[in-house]
């Protein structure tokens, strides 16, 4: 913490985990942006012979309906990043708002917020998402992302609260308070800079969590009704007997991409943690 920018970049580049993680994520981001231009087939159109294995014409083969799997894949990737971005941002924002307020104010405010957090934390997110989504007849990626973000904040709030607690009683914060610096100035001038690294880690985990949650929701048939996503691809593959028919190219790419993206995010997180916290660096 408290690293200079150049110093940060130096350690960041030296960290192998960070290099690997960031490279994988960037690779998939580029694929999600460029991919749709690489294929001439719309994702949901029936273009070719059914259940065609991967070929030069169809890189990832076709589905049982003759849709191009590669086209579905790259469009699904885009949806994945949208969900991660929106869901992760909302989840992190709420987590910061609630956790920070509780940790900084302390006392009664903390008691109440902490109680609420603990209660919401127990209720399984997916169960709530299931019953909300079950009653929404038309669902888009945006609705899904917002719902995921709105239910994902509790653990972040708890973690940020604990972090704020420990920062609030540091000597330099006391010193600032004693010299009559205003609350807002203490929060943004003294505490926030020391929390930035931590918040970045929280955001990455929220992003990954949103991606996994969306995949689960889509897979059980409660995802977006109007587009394609990676979870939906696996859902269709299971529903239309890709397993017994051996159409592995239908369900392997979407799951592989999610695993790679989320895994890379986790590894990035560990790498960042090591950069911020010298104690953890490999000896």
């Amino acid at each position: 913490m408290g690293l200079k920018r150049s110093e940060f970049l130096f350690f960041a580049w030296r960290n192998r985990k960070l290099r690997i993680g960031v490279s994988i994520v960037i690779f998939f981001v580029i694929l999600a942006i460029v991919g749709p231009f690489l294929t001439k087939y719309p994702p949901n159109e029936y273009v070719e012979a059914a259940a065609f294995p991967p070929s030069k014409e169809h890189w990832f083969g076709t589905t049982i309906f003759g849709q191009d799997v590669f086209s579905q894949f790259v469009h699904g990737l885009k949806a994945t990043f949208v969900v991660g971005l929106i869901g992760g941002t909302i989840g992190t924002f709420l987590g910061i708002l609630i956790g920070f307020t509780a940790g900084y104010r302390g006392g009664m405010v903390d008691e109440v917020l902490n109680m609420v957090t603990n209660i919401v934390l127990i209720i399984p997110t997916l169960a709530v998402l299931i019953i909300i989504a079950a009653y929404l007849t038309v669902r888009g990626i945006l609705t899904e992302s917002v719902l995921i973000g709105l239910t994902a904040w509790p653990w972040a709030a708890r973690a940020i609260r604990a972090q704020t607690f420990s920062l609030r009683v540091r000597d330099y914060v006391d010193l600032a308070r004693m010299s009559g610096v205003g609350s807002m100035k203490i929060i943004f001038g003294e505490i926030a800079p020391n929390m930035m690294s931590y918040l970045l880690l929280v955001y990455i985990l929220q992003f990954g969590g949103a991606v996994l949650n969306a995949a689960a929701l889509d897979f059980i048939g409660l995802g977006p009704t109007n587009t394609i996503s990676l979870g939906l691809m696996m859902n269709y593959a299971l529903l239309w007997a890709a397993l017994p028919l051996g159409i592995w190219w239908w369900f392997v790419p979407p799951g592989l991409a999610i695993t790679a993206i989320v895994g890379a995010l986790y590894v990035t997180n560990v790498g960042l943690d090591e950069v911020f916290n010298p104690k953890l660096r490999e000896m």
Partner: protein, 331 residues
Amino acid sequence: MSRYLGRKLLIYLLTFFLAVTIDWLIPRLMPGDPINVMISRLGPRNPQEVQLLREYYLKIFALDVPMWQQYINFWKSVFRGDLGRSTLFFPRPVLDIIKASVPYDILLLLPAILLSWFAGNNFGALAARRRWLDNTVLPLGYILTATPYMWLALLLAWALGIVAGIFPIAGAYSFDLRPHLSWRFIQDLLLHWFLPFLSLFMVMFGGWAIGMRNMIIYELEADYSRYLEALGAPQGLIRRYAFRNALLPQITGLALQLGTIVAGAVATEVVFAYPGIGNLIVQAIQNQDYFLIQGCFLFIILGVLLANLLIDIAYVIVDPRTRLGMTGEAA
């Protein structure tokens, strides 16, 4: 101890209250009217029939009384164990259907959770600060914990079920068998159980192994470890102390992971058509069986609360600080 558990119990009671309220509220807040959906599915031919059906449904679902009355009635029926009747499996009561599914959830989840926790923790502790093991276990752990449950389930079903043909990939037992106590049935049950168990086990294992590995590294940096080291204590002893201290957050972690485990169980059960509550709730959604959805939600919450309570009791047994009234780290 009573203060610690009392506080927890209060939170669980409030959680249950909130969950029941959500269960009641969400269908009423949502755009669109479930009753309209049900009416349109019956395909009435004229407005008179629509009106008749609407009145009928309003009456049997007790929607013809004021909101507050509906809410109180909902609570009453929850306590009576009356969760309504399923439309999908009409006329079976929701409670009966759920009761028939619960044993399969226990059969699947209890071993998967406990064994993965046990194995993951021991493996992670073994790997920490051991270069060769760490370099293999750590990446593997990250890949496993990032894997969506249903994808691993699909892969296992395809590889071991279809290609290798060793395991069946659907149901809890063969279609030509009825549940009864015989060697043949138990064998069949276990054969169907193995793949869903394995896929849940593997994903969870990754998470526990990484968590423990990181905790041990933190603990080995702690003052007491350094002190022991300076005294010349053997590495094995220091590691044993570190393991016991690292275990506490892993127990709390188990409680925090329950939500994710529920999600994983639902997805896994869907892949293998395993007849637990996860599979049931998805079927209920596909068929817009609202009472069944509500009932499944309540049971999932009850299960999670019960698991939380058991974990708390385990925590009190393991961590003496909670018994002495020092609440320890988890409040």
